[in-house]
Symmetry: D2
C-alpha cells in the first residue's frame, strides 16, 4: 500500500495543536469539552468524541452530524500537522459513509492525509466506537489552504 | 430537465411533519429551536437554520457541521414526505460541497428527492443565506428506508 | 432557488466549444464519435452519449464508467463556458449516485456550474435516457483551474 | 485501526474470480485485455490497469474515467470476495478524489471492503502508478447486493 508524501514529523506538537484548536474553534467545546485531540503525527491524528446523550438520535445511536463534526475536526488537525498553523484553511468537500450503529460509548476518529498539495489537502477518517474494531463511519474530505 | 418520480403530494402535511420531527429528534432543538421546517411538498422541503453565534467558526462564517446537520435534516424531511412516518430511516451517505462563505444570517436549505426507491432514497440540498441568491453549499445524500 | 453567480453568456460559442474539445480530447471519440456536445450556455451545457452496445453491462444497462465519463466531460464543458479555453483544468473530485437503470437509448447529461471560483469550479450533472424524464444518475464534481 | 468485519477467506479463488468477471463483463476487455485481477483476499483485491496510450488526456496523464472504471471493477471484485457470485450487484454511489498525476505506467488499484452488510457493501480503493508509492486517486463506493 503506497504512503502519502507528507512531512517526517508533525508541524505542531500535541500540546501546541490542542492550544491552537482551542484558540481558533472555542465554540466546539461550548457546554463542556467534547472533542479531545489525543495524538498527532505527520499527516495523522486521533480525536475522541466523548459520549454524551445530547448526541443521541432515534434508535439510541450517536447522531450523524456529531460524526461529521468529529471527522471535519480530525481532518483539520491532520492538515495542520502538515502545513502548520493555518487559521484560514477551509473545508471544500466532505463525504461520509455511515457503516454501522455506534455503541453508547466514545467515538474515536483516526485520520490520515492522503495528499498534501500546495492548495488542496485531501484526507480520510475512519471512525469506530471506543473498545470496538467495527467501523462506524468512513469519511473523505478536502481542505483548501492559502498559498504558502 | 427530467423530474424525479415521486408521489403527487406530501405524505405528511406541514404540521404533521413538524410534530413528527419534534417527536423523533427532540435533541436537535436542545437549547432553543434552531431548525424550522417551513414548507413540505411531494419529495421537497425547505428548512431554515436560525442564525446564532454558536454556529460561528474562524473568519465569522457559519460552521460546516451546522450546515451538514441542516442538510441531513432536510433530506430526512423530504424522504418522509415520500415514504410517510418512517422512524428508522437512516443516512447511509452524505456528500457536501462548500461553495461560498455564508453571511451572518439564517441559512435556508431547499431539498428535493432525486430517487424514491423501495430501499434507498437519494436527494439533493441547496443551501443559501436568507435574502441571498448565492449558493453556500450543495449536498447529496442517501437514506436507507426499511422495506414497506 | 438561488442561482449560481456565473457569466451572462458562454465564453465559447457551441462550434468553438466542439472544436476545442476535439482538440484537447481527441481520444474520447476513439473508434467513432460517441459524445456530442449539443448545447452550451453560461455555466450550463447538454452532452449526449450515443447508445452503443459497447457500453453495456450485465442486465443490459449502460455501464457506470460510461456515465462517469459523460458527466466528467459535461462538467469540463460547463466550466469552460465560464472560464474560457483552459486546457489544464483538472477534475479533483467527482461523486456519482446511480439512480435507475438506463434504457437502451442515448444518455443525456444536463450540467450546471454551482460555483465558479478563482481556483475551484463546482458543478452538478443530471443524466437521463433520451425521451425519458426519469433520472438515471446524478453527479457533482469539482475542477481545479489555473489562476487567471 | 479497526478492521472491517468480513469473511476469513475470499468466497472465490483468484482463478474463479477472473473467470466470473470475464463471464459477466466481457466488454471491459473489448479491444484487448486492459484490466488484470492480480490478487483477491477476504474483502480485498488488487487490480491492474495496463498502460495504453488510449487512456491519455491533455498533459499526458491517464484519464479520470479510466481510473473510475478501474476503481468500480476493483470494488465489484472485493464485494464478490465477500458475497460470492452475485451477478446483479450494482454500484449505487462512487466518489473519487484525484490526488496526483499518474505516470506513463500501469495503474494499480488496492481495494478493501469497509462494510459487508446484508444489502449494502461499502469499500475504498487506493490507486497508484506501478513502482510508485504516491497515491494517484482514492475512491469510496457502495454496492447494493440482492438479499441473500
Amino acid at each position: 500500500m503506497p504512503k502519502p508524501t507528507v512531512v517526517p514529523q508533525s508541524a505542531l506538537a500535541l500540546d501546541e495543536m490542542i492550544a491552537f484548536i482551542d484558540h481558533v474553534f472555542p465554540e466546539i467545546n461550548h457546554g463542556g469539552r467534547s472533542y479531545l485531540i489525543e495524538a498527532v503525527g505527520p499527516g495523522t491524528c486521533r480525536v475522541r468524541l466523548v459520549y454524551h446523550p445530547r448526541h443521541l438520535r432515534p434508535g439510541g445511536t450517536l447522531s450523524g452530524p456529531s460524526m461529521m463534526a468529529l471527522a471535519d475536526l480530525a481532518l483539520y488537525v491532520a492538515v495542520l500537522s502538515v502545513v502548520g498553523k493555518v487559521e484560514l484553511a477551509v473545508t471544500t468537500n466532505l463525504s461520509i459513509n455511515f457503516l454501522s450503529k455506534p455503541e453508547k460509548a466514545d467515538l474515536i476518529a483516526e485520520c490520515r492525509v492522503l495528499k498534501a498539495g500546495k492548495r488542496l489537502c485531501v484526507g480520510e477518517v475512519s471512525i469506530h466506537s471506543d473498545h470496538s474494531e467495527t467501523l462506524v463511519a468512513h469519511v473523505t474530505g478536502t481542505y483548501s489552504v492559502p498559498p504558502r
